[in-house]
Protein backbone atom coordinates (compact mmCIF):
# COMPACT_ATOMS: atom_id res chain seq x y z
CA UNK A 1 0.00 0.00 0.00
CA UNK A 2 2.48 2.52 1.17
CA UNK A 3 4.39 1.22 -1.68
CA UNK A 4 2.17 3.01 -4.05
CA UNK A 5 3.59 6.12 -2.61
CA UNK A 6 6.92 4.79 -3.43
CA UNK A 7 5.50 4.37 -6.80
CA UNK A 8 4.72 8.01 -6.74
CA UNK A 9 8.29 8.75 -6.10
CA UNK A 10 9.74 6.56 -8.71
CA UNK A 11 7.03 7.25 -11.13
CA UNK A 12 7.65 10.88 -10.73
CA UNK A 13 10.29 10.45 -13.30
CA UNK A 14 7.98 8.60 -15.61
CA UNK A 15 5.31 11.15 -15.14
CA UNK A 16 7.60 13.93 -15.87
CA UNK A 17 8.97 12.34 -18.95
CA UNK A 18 5.43 11.60 -20.03
CA UNK A 19 4.47 15.18 -19.55
CA UNK A 20 7.49 16.34 -21.40
CA UNK A 21 6.71 14.12 -24.32
CA UNK A 22 3.09 15.00 -24.85
CA UNK A 23 2.96 18.60 -23.80
CA UNK A 24 5.60 20.62 -25.45
CA UNK A 25 4.76 23.69 -23.43
CA UNK A 26 4.88 21.80 -20.18
CA UNK A 27 7.76 22.61 -17.87
CA UNK A 28 10.67 20.28 -17.58
CA UNK A 29 10.00 17.50 -15.08
CA UNK A 30 12.58 18.67 -12.62
CA UNK A 31 11.11 22.12 -12.65
CA UNK A 32 7.56 20.90 -12.08
CA UNK A 33 8.18 19.49 -8.70
CA UNK A 34 10.46 17.28 -6.74
CA UNK A 35 8.05 16.62 -3.95
CA UNK A 36 4.65 14.98 -4.10
CA UNK A 37 2.00 14.74 -1.50
CA UNK A 38 -0.75 12.15 -1.32
CA UNK A 39 -4.19 13.59 -1.85
CA UNK A 40 -6.05 11.44 0.64
CA UNK A 41 -9.44 12.59 -0.61
CA UNK A 42 -8.76 10.88 -3.90
CA UNK A 43 -6.80 7.93 -2.60
CA UNK A 44 -7.64 4.58 -1.06
CA UNK A 45 -5.94 1.98 1.07
CA UNK A 46 -7.91 -1.23 0.78
CA UNK A 47 -7.15 -4.78 1.73
CA UNK A 48 -8.67 -8.20 1.54
CA UNK A 49 -8.07 -11.43 3.34
CA UNK A 50 -9.76 -14.78 3.48
CA UNK A 51 -12.40 -15.55 6.09
CA UNK A 52 -12.33 -19.16 7.27
CA UNK A 53 -11.01 -20.18 3.90
CA UNK A 54 -14.37 -19.38 2.39
CA UNK A 55 -14.46 -15.95 0.86
CA UNK A 56 -12.39 -12.84 0.32
CA UNK A 57 -13.25 -10.17 2.81
CA UNK A 58 -12.53 -6.50 2.10
CA UNK A 59 -11.77 -3.58 4.34
CA UNK A 60 -10.05 -0.21 4.18
CA UNK A 61 -8.17 2.42 6.15
CA UNK A 62 -9.79 5.81 6.01
CA UNK A 63 -7.02 8.04 7.37
CA UNK A 64 -3.53 8.19 5.93
CA UNK A 65 -0.98 10.60 4.57
CA UNK A 66 2.15 10.34 2.51
CA UNK A 67 4.96 12.22 0.93
CA UNK A 68 7.28 11.47 -1.94
CA UNK A 69 10.62 12.82 -2.99
CA UNK A 70 11.83 11.91 -6.42
CA UNK A 71 14.77 12.51 -8.62
CA UNK A 72 13.55 12.99 -12.16
CA UNK A 73 16.87 12.07 -13.61
CA UNK A 74 17.16 8.95 -11.52
CA UNK A 75 13.86 7.39 -10.46
CA UNK A 76 15.64 4.69 -8.54
CA UNK A 77 16.89 7.25 -6.08
CA UNK A 78 13.36 8.31 -5.23
CA UNK A 79 11.87 7.81 -1.81
CA UNK A 80 8.40 7.41 -0.43
CA UNK A 81 6.86 7.44 2.99
CA UNK A 82 3.30 6.81 4.03
CA UNK A 83 1.63 6.77 7.41
CA UNK A 84 -1.70 5.13 8.08
CA UNK A 85 -3.84 5.70 11.17
CA UNK A 86 -4.43 2.15 12.43
CA UNK A 87 -7.58 3.18 14.27
CA UNK A 88 -9.18 4.24 10.99
CA UNK A 89 -9.72 0.63 9.92
CA UNK A 90 -13.18 0.19 8.45
CA UNK A 91 -14.75 -3.17 7.65
CA UNK A 92 -18.35 -2.01 7.62
CA UNK A 93 -19.01 -3.46 11.09
CA UNK A 94 -18.41 -1.31 14.17
CA UNK A 95 -18.15 -4.37 16.39
CA UNK A 96 -15.55 -6.02 14.19
CA UNK A 97 -13.67 -2.74 13.78
CA UNK A 98 -13.53 -2.46 17.57
CA UNK A 99 -12.07 -5.93 17.75
CA UNK A 100 -9.57 -5.16 15.01
CA UNK A 101 -8.44 -2.02 16.87
CA UNK A 102 -8.02 -4.03 20.09
CA UNK A 103 -4.85 -5.73 21.35
CA UNK A 104 -6.06 -8.92 19.68
CA UNK A 105 -5.10 -7.42 16.33
CA UNK A 106 -3.70 -3.94 15.64
CA UNK A 107 -3.67 -2.69 19.25
CA UNK A 108 -4.28 0.70 17.72
CA UNK A 109 -3.90 2.68 20.94
CA UNK A 110 -0.52 1.10 21.56
CA UNK A 111 0.64 1.19 17.94
CA UNK A 112 -1.38 4.01 16.39
CA UNK A 113 0.65 4.30 13.21
CA UNK A 114 1.35 1.95 10.35
CA UNK A 115 4.39 3.34 8.60
CA UNK A 116 6.21 2.52 5.40
CA UNK A 117 9.55 4.01 4.43
CA UNK A 118 11.06 3.08 1.12
CA UNK A 119 14.64 1.95 0.85
CA UNK A 120 14.99 1.23 -2.85
CA UNK A 121 13.07 1.54 -6.10
CA UNK A 122 13.85 -0.64 -9.08
CA UNK A 123 12.37 -0.88 -12.53
CA UNK A 124 10.62 -4.18 -13.20
CA UNK A 125 9.41 -4.18 -16.80
CA UNK A 126 6.63 -1.67 -17.15
CA UNK A 127 6.24 -1.43 -13.42
CA UNK A 128 8.47 -0.85 -10.43
CA UNK A 129 9.44 -2.82 -7.41
CA UNK A 130 9.76 -0.90 -4.19
CA UNK A 131 11.46 -2.30 -1.15
CA UNK A 132 11.28 -0.71 2.23
CA UNK A 133 10.52 -1.12 5.89
CA UNK A 134 6.96 -1.57 7.01
CA UNK A 135 6.27 -0.96 10.69
CA UNK A 136 3.02 -2.57 11.69
CA UNK A 137 1.86 -3.56 15.17
CA UNK A 138 5.23 -2.52 16.57
CA UNK A 139 7.11 -4.89 14.28
CA UNK A 140 9.33 -3.64 11.46
CA UNK A 141 9.98 -5.86 8.46
CA UNK A 142 11.41 -5.35 5.03
CA UNK A 143 8.80 -5.88 2.37
CA UNK A 144 8.52 -5.47 -1.38
CA UNK A 145 5.64 -4.18 -3.45
CA UNK A 146 4.93 -3.70 -7.11
CA UNK A 147 3.42 -0.56 -8.45
CA UNK A 148 2.36 0.96 -11.67
CA UNK A 149 1.56 4.38 -12.97
CA UNK A 150 -2.14 4.78 -13.57
CA UNK A 151 -2.22 8.24 -15.05
CA UNK A 152 -0.77 11.73 -15.11
CA UNK A 153 -2.49 15.01 -15.78
CA UNK A 154 -2.19 18.73 -15.52
CA UNK A 155 -5.12 20.05 -13.51
CA UNK A 156 -6.20 23.47 -12.29
CA UNK A 157 -4.71 22.46 -8.99
CA UNK A 158 -1.40 21.50 -10.46
CA UNK A 159 0.21 18.37 -11.76
CA UNK A 160 -1.34 15.20 -10.49
CA UNK A 161 -0.28 11.62 -10.82
CA UNK A 162 -2.00 8.39 -9.91
CA UNK A 163 -0.31 5.19 -8.85
CA UNK A 164 -1.38 1.83 -7.65
CA UNK A 165 0.74 -0.45 -5.51
CA UNK A 166 0.05 -4.02 -4.49
CA UNK A 167 1.64 -6.08 -1.80
CA UNK A 168 0.94 -9.10 0.34
CA UNK A 169 1.86 -9.48 3.97
CA UNK A 170 1.58 -12.37 6.39
CA UNK A 171 -0.02 -11.20 9.63
CA UNK A 172 1.98 -13.77 11.57
CA UNK A 173 5.18 -11.95 10.61
CA UNK A 174 3.92 -8.88 12.42
CA UNK A 175 2.97 -10.43 15.74
CA UNK A 176 -0.75 -10.91 15.23
CA UNK A 177 -0.98 -13.71 17.76
CA UNK A 178 -4.72 -14.06 17.29
CA UNK A 179 -4.06 -15.22 13.75
CA UNK A 180 -1.35 -17.59 14.91
CA UNK A 181 -3.53 -19.09 17.62
CA UNK A 182 -6.60 -19.35 15.46
CA UNK A 183 -5.38 -20.54 12.07
CA UNK A 184 -7.96 -20.57 9.36
CA UNK A 185 -10.29 -18.05 10.97
CA UNK A 186 -8.80 -15.12 9.15
CA UNK A 187 -5.82 -14.73 6.86
CA UNK A 188 -2.99 -15.21 7.52
CA UNK A 189 -2.19 -13.41 4.27
CA UNK A 190 -3.53 -9.95 3.66
CA UNK A 191 -3.47 -8.47 0.19
CA UNK A 192 -3.18 -4.71 0.18
CA UNK A 193 -3.83 -2.26 -2.60
CA UNK A 194 -2.80 1.35 -2.26
CA UNK A 195 -4.21 3.59 -4.89
CA UNK A 196 -3.07 7.16 -4.50
CA UNK A 197 -3.46 10.40 -6.30
CA UNK A 198 -0.46 12.63 -5.73
CA UNK A 199 -0.23 16.36 -6.02
CA UNK A 200 3.01 18.02 -6.98
CA UNK A 201 4.23 20.49 -4.38
Amino acid sequence: MQLSLLACAATGALLLSSIGTHASDAPEPASITSAWKVDAAHSSVVFHTQHMGIAKFYGRFNAFEGEIQYDAASPTSSSVGITIDASSIDTNSEGRDKHLRSPDFFSAKEFPEIRFESASVEAAGDAFTVEGELTLHGVTKTIAATFEVVGVAETPRGTKAGFEAKLTIDMRDFGFSFVEKNPGAVGPEVHVVVSVECVGE
Binding site: G95, K98, S102, P103, E110
Partner: protein
Protein backbone atom coordinates in the same frame (compact mmCIF):
# COMPACT_ATOMS: atom_id res chain seq x y z
CA UNK B 1 -6.89 -23.89 17.59
CA UNK B 2 -10.57 -23.02 17.74
CA UNK B 3 -12.23 -20.68 20.18
CA UNK B 4 -12.91 -23.46 22.67
CA UNK B 5 -9.25 -24.37 22.48
CA UNK B 6 -8.24 -20.77 23.05
CA UNK B 7 -10.56 -20.48 26.03
CA UNK B 8 -9.26 -23.71 27.53
CA UNK B 9 -5.67 -22.66 27.02
CA UNK B 10 -6.42 -19.71 29.28
CA UNK B 11 -7.95 -21.93 31.95
CA UNK B 12 -6.19 -25.29 31.98
CA UNK B 13 -2.61 -24.06 32.52
CA UNK B 14 -3.41 -21.84 35.52
CA UNK B 15 -5.71 -24.53 36.87
CA UNK B 16 -2.97 -27.15 36.78
CA UNK B 17 -0.15 -24.88 37.97
CA UNK B 18 -2.15 -23.33 40.79
CA UNK B 19 -3.59 -26.65 41.96
CA UNK B 20 -0.15 -28.21 41.98
CA UNK B 21 1.50 -25.38 43.91
CA UNK B 22 -1.32 -24.95 46.40
CA UNK B 23 -1.57 -28.68 46.96
CA UNK B 24 2.15 -28.90 47.64
CA UNK B 25 1.92 -25.91 49.93
CA UNK B 26 -1.28 -26.69 51.77
CA UNK B 27 -2.35 -30.29 51.47
CA UNK B 28 0.26 -31.77 53.81
CA UNK B 29 -0.95 -29.32 56.45
CA UNK B 30 -4.67 -29.68 55.91
CA UNK B 31 -5.41 -30.78 59.46
CA UNK B 32 -6.33 -27.87 61.71
CA UNK B 33 -3.75 -28.79 64.28
CA UNK B 34 -0.99 -29.12 61.74
CA UNK B 35 1.88 -26.67 61.58
CA UNK B 36 1.58 -23.54 59.46
CA UNK B 37 1.46 -24.27 55.73
CA UNK B 38 4.08 -23.08 53.35
CA UNK B 39 3.45 -19.40 52.84
CA UNK B 40 4.94 -19.19 49.38
CA UNK B 41 2.25 -21.40 47.90
CA UNK B 42 -0.47 -18.76 47.41
CA UNK B 43 1.64 -16.01 45.80
CA UNK B 44 3.36 -18.52 43.57
CA UNK B 45 0.05 -20.07 42.58
CA UNK B 46 -1.47 -16.73 41.56
CA UNK B 47 1.63 -15.41 39.84
CA UNK B 48 2.87 -18.51 38.09
CA UNK B 49 -0.64 -19.75 37.34
CA UNK B 50 -1.37 -16.54 35.44
CA UNK B 51 2.10 -16.53 33.91
CA UNK B 52 1.51 -20.01 32.50
CA UNK B 53 -1.58 -18.76 30.69
CA UNK B 54 0.33 -15.73 29.36
CA UNK B 55 2.98 -18.00 27.89
CA UNK B 56 0.52 -20.49 26.42
CA UNK B 57 -1.68 -17.76 24.93
CA UNK B 58 0.90 -15.22 23.80
CA UNK B 59 4.21 -17.07 23.76
CA UNK B 60 7.33 -16.15 25.68
CA UNK B 61 7.77 -12.39 25.85
CA UNK B 62 10.95 -10.80 24.59
CA UNK B 63 13.46 -9.43 27.05
CA UNK B 64 13.02 -5.86 25.79
CA UNK B 65 11.52 -3.32 28.16
CA UNK B 66 9.21 -1.91 25.50
CA UNK B 67 7.32 -5.14 24.92
CA UNK B 68 3.74 -5.13 23.73
CA UNK B 69 1.34 -4.55 26.61
CA UNK B 70 -0.09 -8.06 26.59
CA UNK B 71 3.41 -9.51 26.80
CA UNK B 72 4.18 -7.14 29.65
CA UNK B 73 1.49 -8.90 31.67
CA UNK B 74 3.76 -11.96 31.82
CA UNK B 75 6.42 -9.85 33.52
CA UNK B 76 3.86 -8.46 35.95
CA UNK B 77 2.86 -12.02 36.85
CA UNK B 78 6.49 -13.06 37.36
CA UNK B 79 7.34 -9.99 39.44
CA UNK B 80 4.16 -10.45 41.47
CA UNK B 81 5.04 -14.05 42.21
CA UNK B 82 8.59 -13.16 43.20
CA UNK B 83 7.65 -10.20 45.36
CA UNK B 84 4.83 -12.20 46.91
CA UNK B 85 7.21 -14.97 47.88
CA UNK B 86 9.56 -12.40 49.36
CA UNK B 87 6.74 -10.92 51.43
CA UNK B 88 5.61 -14.37 52.50
CA UNK B 89 9.02 -15.04 53.93
CA UNK B 90 9.42 -11.79 55.85
CA UNK B 91 7.56 -9.35 58.06
CA UNK B 92 5.47 -7.25 55.66
CA UNK B 93 6.20 -4.15 57.73
CA UNK B 94 9.85 -4.40 56.92
CA UNK B 95 11.24 -1.36 55.19
CA UNK B 96 12.59 -3.48 52.36
CA UNK B 97 9.18 -4.94 51.67
CA UNK B 98 7.58 -1.54 51.33
CA UNK B 99 10.44 -0.26 49.26
CA UNK B 100 10.01 -3.15 46.84
CA UNK B 101 6.27 -2.58 46.77
CA UNK B 102 6.85 1.05 45.98
CA UNK B 103 9.16 0.20 43.13
CA UNK B 104 6.66 -2.30 41.75
CA UNK B 105 3.78 0.18 42.06
CA UNK B 106 5.71 2.82 40.11
CA UNK B 107 7.29 0.45 37.60
CA UNK B 108 4.03 -1.23 36.64
CA UNK B 109 2.22 1.83 35.22
CA UNK B 110 5.49 3.43 34.11
CA UNK B 111 6.59 0.51 31.94
CA UNK B 112 3.21 -0.81 30.86
CA UNK B 113 1.88 2.59 29.84
CA UNK B 114 4.97 3.78 28.03
CA UNK B 115 2.94 3.85 24.81
CA UNK B 116 0.32 6.10 26.37
CA UNK B 117 2.96 8.64 27.41
CA UNK B 118 4.25 8.56 23.85
CA UNK B 119 0.98 8.68 21.94
CA UNK B 120 -1.85 9.75 24.24
CA UNK B 121 -0.52 12.11 26.90
CA UNK B 122 1.60 15.20 27.04
CA UNK B 123 4.73 15.04 29.18
CA UNK B 124 3.17 16.59 32.30
CA UNK B 125 -0.06 14.65 31.85
CA UNK B 126 1.93 11.46 31.44
CA UNK B 127 3.81 11.93 34.70
CA UNK B 128 0.61 12.89 36.50
CA UNK B 129 -1.10 9.75 35.25
CA UNK B 130 1.86 7.53 36.13
CA UNK B 131 2.23 9.03 39.58
CA UNK B 132 -1.48 8.97 40.25
CA UNK B 133 -1.85 5.36 39.19
CA UNK B 134 1.18 4.38 41.32
CA UNK B 135 -0.30 6.06 44.38
CA UNK B 136 -3.69 4.50 43.73
CA UNK B 137 -2.05 1.10 43.42
CA UNK B 138 -0.26 1.57 46.73
CA UNK B 139 -3.53 2.54 48.36
CA UNK B 140 -5.32 -0.46 46.90
CA UNK B 141 -2.60 -2.80 48.14
CA UNK B 142 -3.03 -1.45 51.64
CA UNK B 143 -6.77 -1.93 51.39
CA UNK B 144 -6.39 -5.49 50.12
CA UNK B 145 -3.85 -6.13 52.90
CA UNK B 146 -6.42 -5.08 55.46
CA UNK B 147 -9.03 -7.35 53.86
CA UNK B 148 -6.63 -10.27 53.88
CA UNK B 149 -5.84 -9.75 57.56
CA UNK B 150 -9.54 -9.70 58.42
CA UNK B 151 -10.64 -12.65 56.34
CA UNK B 152 -9.42 -16.20 56.33
CA UNK B 153 -10.90 -19.14 54.49
CA UNK B 154 -12.57 -19.21 51.11
CA UNK B 155 -14.47 -15.92 51.37
CA UNK B 156 -11.75 -13.55 50.21
CA UNK B 157 -10.41 -15.68 47.34
CA UNK B 158 -14.00 -16.15 46.22
CA UNK B 159 -14.63 -12.41 46.22
CA UNK B 160 -11.45 -11.81 44.27
CA UNK B 161 -12.36 -14.61 41.87
CA UNK B 162 -15.58 -12.74 41.15
CA UNK B 163 -13.71 -9.47 40.61
CA UNK B 164 -11.14 -11.05 38.31
CA UNK B 165 -13.72 -13.12 36.43
CA UNK B 166 -15.98 -10.11 35.92
CA UNK B 167 -12.96 -8.13 34.75
CA UNK B 168 -12.22 -10.86 32.22
CA UNK B 169 -15.76 -10.75 30.90
CA UNK B 170 -15.73 -6.96 30.76
CA UNK B 171 -12.39 -6.87 28.94
CA UNK B 172 -13.70 -9.39 26.45
CA UNK B 173 -16.84 -7.38 25.86
CA UNK B 174 -14.75 -4.22 25.55
CA UNK B 175 -13.08 -5.74 22.52
CA UNK B 176 -9.99 -7.55 23.78
CA UNK B 177 -10.15 -11.27 24.25
CA UNK B 178 -6.38 -11.26 24.93
CA UNK B 179 -6.76 -9.31 28.16
CA UNK B 180 -10.00 -11.12 28.97
CA UNK B 181 -8.26 -14.49 28.80
CA UNK B 182 -5.47 -13.38 31.13
CA UNK B 183 -8.02 -12.04 33.61
CA UNK B 184 -9.78 -15.39 33.30
CA UNK B 185 -6.50 -17.12 34.12
CA UNK B 186 -6.12 -14.98 37.25
CA UNK B 187 -9.70 -15.83 38.21
CA UNK B 188 -8.94 -19.52 37.69
CA UNK B 189 -5.93 -19.39 40.01
CA UNK B 190 -7.99 -17.55 42.62
CA UNK B 191 -10.75 -20.10 42.20
CA UNK B 192 -8.31 -22.90 42.96
CA UNK B 193 -7.20 -20.98 46.05
CA UNK B 194 -10.83 -20.70 47.12
CA UNK B 195 -11.30 -24.43 46.66
CA UNK B 196 -8.23 -25.19 48.76
CA UNK B 197 -9.50 -22.77 51.38
CA UNK B 198 -12.72 -24.74 51.66
CA UNK B 199 -10.59 -27.67 52.77
CA UNK B 200 -8.40 -25.57 54.99
CA UNK B 201 -10.54 -22.85 56.65
CA UNK B 202 -7.53 -21.03 58.07
CA UNK B 203 -6.25 -20.45 54.56
CA UNK B 204 -5.20 -16.84 54.23
CA UNK B 205 -4.03 -14.61 51.43
CA UNK B 206 -2.48 -12.18 53.86
CA UNK B 207 1.08 -13.30 53.32
CA UNK B 208 2.26 -12.57 49.84
CA UNK B 209 -0.82 -13.19 47.70
CA UNK B 210 -2.04 -9.60 47.81
CA UNK B 211 0.82 -8.37 45.63
CA UNK B 212 0.44 -10.71 42.63
CA UNK B 213 -3.33 -10.30 42.72
CA UNK B 214 -3.15 -6.51 42.99
CA UNK B 215 -0.46 -6.00 40.37
CA UNK B 216 -2.18 -8.30 37.88
CA UNK B 217 -5.72 -7.01 38.32
CA UNK B 218 -4.67 -3.37 38.04
CA UNK B 219 -2.37 -4.09 35.09
CA UNK B 220 -5.23 -5.77 33.26
CA UNK B 221 -7.51 -2.83 33.94
CA UNK B 222 -4.77 -0.39 32.88
CA UNK B 223 -4.63 -2.33 29.64
CA UNK B 224 -8.39 -2.33 29.28
CA UNK B 225 -8.64 1.42 29.68
CA UNK B 226 -5.49 2.65 27.94
CA UNK B 227 -4.74 -0.04 25.34
CA UNK B 228 -8.28 -1.22 24.66
CA UNK B 229 -11.70 0.37 24.94
CA UNK B 230 -12.81 -0.40 28.48
CA UNK B 231 -14.56 2.68 29.91
CA UNK B 232 -12.80 4.16 32.95
CA UNK B 233 -15.98 4.05 35.00
CA UNK B 234 -16.28 0.32 34.28
CA UNK B 235 -12.70 -0.25 35.44
CA UNK B 236 -13.40 1.60 38.68
CA UNK B 237 -16.54 -0.48 39.25
CA UNK B 238 -14.58 -3.68 38.71
CA UNK B 239 -11.96 -2.55 41.21
CA UNK B 240 -14.76 -1.75 43.62
CA UNK B 241 -15.92 -5.35 43.40
CA UNK B 242 -12.58 -6.44 44.86
CA UNK B 243 -12.65 -4.06 47.82
CA UNK B 244 -16.30 -3.39 48.62
CA UNK B 245 -16.97 -6.60 50.60
CA UNK B 246 -13.93 -5.90 52.76
CA UNK B 247 -14.86 -2.28 53.32
CA UNK B 248 -18.48 -2.99 54.16
CA UNK B 249 -18.61 -6.35 55.89
CA UNK B 250 -18.12 -6.06 59.56
CA UNK B 251 -18.27 -2.30 59.53
CA UNK B 252 -21.85 -1.54 58.59
CA UNK B 253 -24.50 -2.79 60.95
CA UNK B 254 -27.03 -4.36 58.60
CA UNK B 255 -24.33 -6.34 56.88
CA UNK B 256 -23.58 -8.11 60.14
CA UNK B 257 -27.07 -9.47 60.24
CA UNK B 258 -26.72 -11.23 56.92
CA UNK B 259 -24.88 -14.46 56.41
CA UNK B 260 -21.34 -13.44 55.66
CA UNK B 261 -21.17 -15.34 52.40
CA UNK B 262 -24.35 -13.97 50.93
CA UNK B 263 -23.42 -10.45 51.87
CA UNK B 264 -19.93 -10.80 50.45
CA UNK B 265 -21.16 -12.26 47.19
CA UNK B 266 -23.79 -9.57 46.79
CA UNK B 267 -21.25 -6.86 47.51
CA UNK B 268 -18.81 -8.37 45.03
CA UNK B 269 -21.34 -8.94 42.27
CA UNK B 270 -23.19 -5.65 42.65
CA UNK B 271 -20.46 -3.33 41.31
CA UNK B 272 -19.90 -5.62 38.33
CA UNK B 273 -23.52 -5.63 37.23
CA UNK B 274 -23.57 -2.18 35.66
CA UNK B 275 -20.34 -2.41 33.62
CA UNK B 276 -21.14 -5.91 32.40
CA UNK B 277 -24.69 -5.00 31.44
CA UNK B 278 -23.56 -1.79 29.80
CA UNK B 279 -20.81 -3.48 27.81
CA UNK B 280 -23.09 -6.36 26.89
CA UNK B 281 -25.76 -4.11 25.49
CA UNK B 282 -23.17 -2.02 23.63
CA UNK B 283 -21.78 -5.12 21.98
CA UNK B 284 -25.14 -6.31 20.72
CA UNK B 285 -23.36 -7.22 17.54
CA UNK B 286 -20.56 -9.37 18.89
CA UNK B 287 -17.14 -8.37 17.58
CA UNK B 288 -16.44 -12.05 17.26
CA UNK B 289 -19.53 -12.92 15.29
CA UNK B 290 -17.61 -12.46 12.10
CA UNK B 291 -15.49 -15.47 12.96
CA UNK B 292 -18.28 -17.75 14.14
Amino acid sequence: MDFVGIALSGIVPPLVVSALLLTIGWWPFRRRDAQAPRAWAAPLALGLGTLSACVVLNGWPSLALDVEFKHGLAYVAAVGAGLGCFEASRDRRARTTWLLRGVACVASPFLLLDFAREHQWGSVEGWLWTGGLALALMGLLKTWDAMARQRTGALLPTVWTIAAGASGAALHLAGSSSFGQIAGALATSLGVAAAIALLRPDFTLVRGAVVPFGLLLTALLFGGVFASELPRAAALALLAASVLPGLVLGRIGPARTLPRWIAALVLAFAPTAWPLWSLWTESAASPYAAYD
